[in-house]
Amino acid sequence: MNWLTNFVRPKILALVRKDSAPDNLWDKCPACERMIFHRDLEANLRVCPHCDHHLQLGAKARLALLFDGGIYERQDVRGVPVDPLRFRDRKRYGDRLREAQAATGERDAMIVAAGAMGGRTAVVAAFDFAFIGGSMGTAVGDALLEGADQAVARGAPFVVVTASGGARMQEGALSLMQMARTTIAVDKVKEAGLPYIVVMTNPTTGGVTASFAMLGDIAIAEPGAIIGFAGARVIEETIRQTLPPGFQRAEYLLDHGMLDMVVHRRELKERLVRLIGLVMPATSSTALVPVATAG
């Protein structure tokens, strides 16, 4: 098995999503609809400077945000995405995969990385919503399993950042099975006595929420993130009622006891470092160890 690891050394602009847009463009905030100078938006971690709305943040920018100095080591995930059902709707799944790969430069919707976070080793798995809506197929299950194994091997906490529309329909029942496989991944981390922390970002729905996302030792969400099992439209069609204001937003879940806290993106890393420090007091065995290439 080829466990090549790549070192990622982001430049100053690393927090900027790989993006062909020139710096002088304007973005429109989807919440307040005000215009934001593109460069300002990226500098502000893709949080609207006018209304504080948290726009989606790509997986690589997320990893750069969480790891010390933006430096992390990517972990290769076994296997390659396949099209087990030879699924075809209006488009072939195989083509969708190739397009998503070309557009994102990633093999699938989840990136696993290890590195120092607040001076201590941590493993982070982050969804890239840009990859087929962050949908969960076999490759995402494999990424979670890999991340869990890495966390256990390093005695490190496992942080998972979600942004997903749910299961990847194009993998049929195989995508459903990922709810079990990702739960197994989480169990391995917990059984090793290591903390498993989930950060839910906009949106986190369907089978992702109903498996590993809701099993965190500590559950964090970004402000305003949509988090739920069923989609709002499906619920409205079923019950034929208008949904209450703020329904399925992070703050609403916090009110209903489903989260520990809602944390602003700017404060996320600091909060994670503090939490990990509290549940894993530093000892010689948990102090920063150099990340070795796994064999």
Binding site: G79, P84, L85, F87, R88, D89, R90, T138, G141, L145, A167, M169, Q170, E171, G172, A173, L174, S175, L176, M177, M179, A180, R181, T183, I184, V186, D187, G206, G207, T209, A210, S211, F212, A213, M214, L215, I227, G228, F229, A230, G231, V234, I235, T238, I239, Q241, L243, P244, F247, Q248, H256, G257, M258
Partner: protein, 318 residues
């Protein structure tokens, strides 16, 4: 009155004729006995032809057939001394998800499953088999109870999906399903699942992370309903038949994908035509499944269950 599906029209006509003939007086001059037997064999031929090549969409309709044997029918026929246990100890008892202690062919077991209801009133009472968080939390409680007393667990899956409602979301539908999966994986006793009708998405797998998963011949198991999939990927629910085909949701597809362990034969024309025979065949398959896993207990059994799921999708499918 038998309920016929759209594609069963020719069968409905033949059986309608048989019924009519029964009421015709002998004075009409036709040899009724002979005609009835001729129509009977024609019906059987028609049934055989139709059911031998059901499309995935037709199977979906059979899996949802209102006269199909449901949880309560299976339990009545297969579980002795059945003693229902109620409530999640947190909020409520969910009539969409039932469970209790009983004896399966003599041995004490815990049985848990979705109940769709048999008539209009029943369907409403059981919420069409769409469980709320309290249902999944009851399931977790019963699984843990079984684990504590070393009782094998049998789950019967038959649900369109977990209930999509405001209350369900507020009480943590996603968390309840996630914990159910976690609880299935934590069991140190055998767990066998039979998908007897509709295996709808997260609401189904919440009870189906098992040592052996069986499916009735015309049951379905899918990540999303064909209608839901079609409305998203084809932008129209009218393409449900195509979506059903693409999703590979039949028992035969899932066996080929190695996501289930066995397909349980149904009587000609589907389980609803002869529930007694269907359930007896299911009982034999469940017994075989329990026998197969009986050699392993405790931690190794749990580890083997994990490995089964980890391996899914990793072996190439021929």
């Amino acid at each position: 009155m038998r309920t016929y599906l759209d594609f069963e029209k020719p069968i409905a006509e033949l059986e309608g004729k048989i019924e009519e003939l029964r009421h015709v007086s002998d004075a009409s001059g036709i040899n009724i006995v002979e005609e009835v037997s001729r129509l009977r064999s024609k019906t059987e031929r028609q049934l055989r032809q139709t059911y031998a090549k059901l499309t995935p969409w037709q199977k979906t309709l059979v899996a949802r057939h209102p006269d199909r044997p449901h949880f309560s029918h299976v339990v009545a026929a297969l579980i002795g001394d059945f003693t229902p246990l109620a409530g999640d100890r947190r909020f409520a008892d969910d009539p969409a998800l039932l469970g209790g202690l009983g004896r399966f062919r003599g041995r004490p077991v815990m049985v848990i499953g979705h109940e769709k209801g048999a008539d209009t009133e029943g369907r409403v009472r059981h919420n069409f088999g769409m469980a709320r968080p309290e249902g999944y939390r009851k399931a977790q409680r019963l699984m843990r109870l079984a684990d504590r007393f070393g009782l094998p667990v049998l789950t019967l899956v038959d649900t369109p999906g977990a209930y999509p409602g405001i209350d369900a979301e507020e009480r943590g539908q996603a968390e309840a399903i996630a914990r159910s999966i976690e609880t299935c994986l934590a069991l140190r006793v055998p767990i066998i699942t039979a998908i007897i009708g509709e295996g709808g998405s997260g609401g189904a797998i919440a009870l189906a992370v098992a040592d052996r998963v069986l499916m009735f011949e015309h049951a379905i198991y899918s990540v999303i309903s064909p209608e839901g999939c079609a409305s998203i990927l084809w932008r129209s629910a009218d393409q449900a038949a195509e979506a059903a085909e693409a999703l590979k949701l039949t028992a035969q597809d899932l066996e080929r994908l190695r996501l289930i362990d066995g397909v349980v034969a149904e009587p000609l024309g589907g389980a609803h035509r002869d529930p007694e025979v269907a359930i007896a065949t299911l009982g034999d398959a469940i017994e075989r499944a329990f026998t197969e896993v009986a050699g392993t207990v405790g931690e190794p059994l749990r580890e083997a269950r994990r490995e089964r799921f980890i391996a899914m999708g990793r072996t190439p499918i021929a």
